[in-house]
């Protein structure tokens, strides 16, 4: 147990209560910052945003992307896991039957409403085939109307790339699984 009054002092001393010394102390800090920042920008922490950007960390959950199969088709099998687990109900999937008999289902439409999304990342955890990811490192751009935030499958796939997981078994050179 620490008594804060004992540690930080309970009463003002005579000098402190004259305002002057403490004000001068404060001025020494502010003026030092002023000089340092004027001459060298040493302590400046803000950035000139659009010109200077700070990269997001690796785990940053940004915009979603849909991963692709080796032949460039969408990896998603429309299992509805992500749509179910989403607390914000922002994922809409319309499933359809694929011509290829090895692929049972695929999403005819896969849309995410980025205005409703809370970027919790549960959909990524829930995906059983590594089809949806949130690692683009980008955040939604401003739009002029709400429809601009409703993103379709095509847009989501533009950011996507081939994935490590494959359907129907282990890939021999799979390093990370």
């Amino acid at each position: 147990m620490i008594r804060v009054r004992e540690k930080y002092g309970d009463r003002m001393t005579a000098l402190e209560s004259s305002y002057l010394t403490e004000t001068l102390k404060g001025l020494s800090i502010t003026l030092r910052h002023f000089l340092e920042n004027t001459l060298t920008r040493k302590n400046t922490v803000t950035l000139n945003y659009p010109e200077e950007k700070k990269p997001y960390p690796e785990r940053f959950r940004g915009l979603h992307r849909l991963m692709k199969r080796d032949d460039g088709q969408v990896r998603c099998v429309a299992c509805m896991c992500c749509a179910t687990v989403c607390p914000a109900h922002c994922i809409k999937i319309e499933a359809g039957e694929h011509d290829d008999h090895r692929i049972e289902k695929f999403p005819i439409e896969f849309s995410i409403d980025w205005l409703r999304c809370v970027y919790c990342g549960l959909c990524v955890d829930a995906c059983p085939c590594d089809a949806i990811r949130m690692d683009t490192g980008e955040h939604p751009k401003p739009q002029i109307d709400r429809n601009g935030f409703l993103t379709t499958k095509i847009d989501l796939m533009k950011l996507g790339g081939p994935s490590v997981a494959v359907q129907g078994g282990v890939r021999p050179d799979n390093g990370e699984g």
Partner: protein, 404 residues
């Protein structure tokens, strides 16, 4: 159903000698953060009566909890006390784990404690910084925000986001810490401490600040207990009650830290306690890194943890387990528990009731600020309008956990 007869206007004070001025403070008022409405009766600048109206940020957390799965509630829990989301998540995760009887791995416990304590520091920094700003010391505020920013970056590195972290899961945490994170934490804590030293020099011992805080918003020990105070506000009256010490949870019993207490129960005490708790949290974090065990970061209990991605992609058993957990959610056995933890403002309690399905039957949050805010009129009466500002900030009202 109509409001019963017993309702009355708390402003109805008929023993005042002259006509008071009624002043509506908020919700659109800089100090009230847009979420509180204070109705004051003023005698000149002196507050003679006050009434607090809350509910402007009511988002139906408890109702939403009833239609979400157990894991989805984490996303809502983040938004309770949005300054320290990790602490809310820890409280909620502990409640579910207590009801299910899940053991959390050691390493996850340590990561939880570290993340929580970083959150606690952020919360206290916001509180003392905003307090200084609302007293007019804008530079001091920005220094505190700068220090907080160092820590938010850490949370972003480990959880992916700064505020809406969604880092904890039932039975553990989302991911292990990234490489080099411990060094980054130590560095950031050192930097933040350096910035806070300047903050400390700027305001703590300045007489203007001292006079504004000292002896303002006093609450006595008995009153504080009677109103249900917890956290720094209770400790400012001299009671060394901290749930981390009184009912150790997670792995707090392994760390060596002190509880700061005040004497008078005024704003200055609350301010100093927050300043000191920042130091103590720092101590906890450093000890946690020194003793960090290895191992998994999420429980292997198949009832709660999603299976590893590799088996999910490749084996049908894991895939089925995965689907069951995603579609039905975690199935919590029927029962009810009350679990509580020390959040930044005091006791954060979760009373959860399960009926055996994948969704909570009832999630009740006991926000620390809710109990404290009801004593606000008592702390304001007799003071001046200007005293509302530090008192209101000393409570550290967070509408997210007040209105839920």
């Amino acid at each position: 159903m109509a409001t019963p007869e017993t309702a009355r206007d708390p402003l109805d004070v008929d023993d005042l000698p002259m006509e008071p001025m009624v002043l509506k403070m908020g919700p659109s008022h800089p100090t009230m953060h847009g979420v509180i409405e204070l109705t004051l009766r003023l005698d000149g600048e002196t507050v003679r009566a006050a009434d607090v109206e809350i509910g402007y940020l009511h988002r139906g957390f408890e109702k939403m909890g009833e239609v979400s799965t157990w894991n989805q509630v984490f996303a809502y829990a983040d938004r309770l006390n949005y300054n320290s989301p990790m602490l809310n998540e820890l409280g909620y995760a502990m409640a579910v784990e207590k009801l299910m009887g899940v053991d959390v791995p050691e390493r996850a416990q340590f990561l939880r404690v570290i993340a929580s304590e970083i959150s606690r520091i952020c919360d206290h920094l916001t509180c003392v910084g905003a307090g200084a700003m609302e007293l007019g010391a804008f530079t001091a505020f920005l220094y505190a925000v700068k220090a907080r920013e160092f820590l938010y970056e850490l949370l972003e590195k480990i959880s992916g986001h700064r505020l809406t972290v969604n880092y904890m899961r039932v039975g553990g945490v989302w991911l292990d810490m990234p490489d080099g994170w411990d060094g980054a934490v130590r560095q950031a804590l050192t930097d933040a401490a350096g910035v806070m030293r300047e903050f400390h020099k700027l305001v703590t011992r300045h007489r203007i600040f001292f006079d504004r805080m000292e002896g303002v918003g006093i609450i006595s020990q008995e009153d504080a207990l009677a109103w249900g105070f917890t956290g720094p506000c209770l400790r400012s009256t001299g009671i060394d009650y901290d749930i981390r010490k009184a009912h150790p949870y997670s792995c707090y019993d392994r760390f060596d830290f002190d509880i700061p207490v005040g004497d008078k129960g005024d704003n200055y005490d609350r301010y100093l306690i927050r300043l000191e708790e920042i130091e103590q949290s720092r101590r906890i974090i450093e000890q946690a890194f020194d003793r960090m065990p290895g191992g998994p970061v999420v429980s292997s209990d198949p009832r709660v943890a999603l299976p590893e991605k590799g088996p999910v992609y490749n084996t049908i058993e894991s895939m089925m387990n995965h689907f069951k957990l995603v579609y039905d959610g975690i199935r919590v056995p029927p029962g009810a528990v009350y679990s509580f933890s020390e959040a930044a403002n005091g006791e954060l309690g979760f009373y959860i009731v399960a009926d055996g399905t994948g969704k909570p039957y009832r999630v009740r949050v006991r926000g620390p600020v809710f109990a404290i805010m009801q004593a606000l009129p008592q702390m304001l009466i007799g003071g001046m309008i200007a005293d509302i500002v530090p008192t209101f900030d000393g409570i550290n009202m967070i509408a997210g956990e007040l209105d839920r």
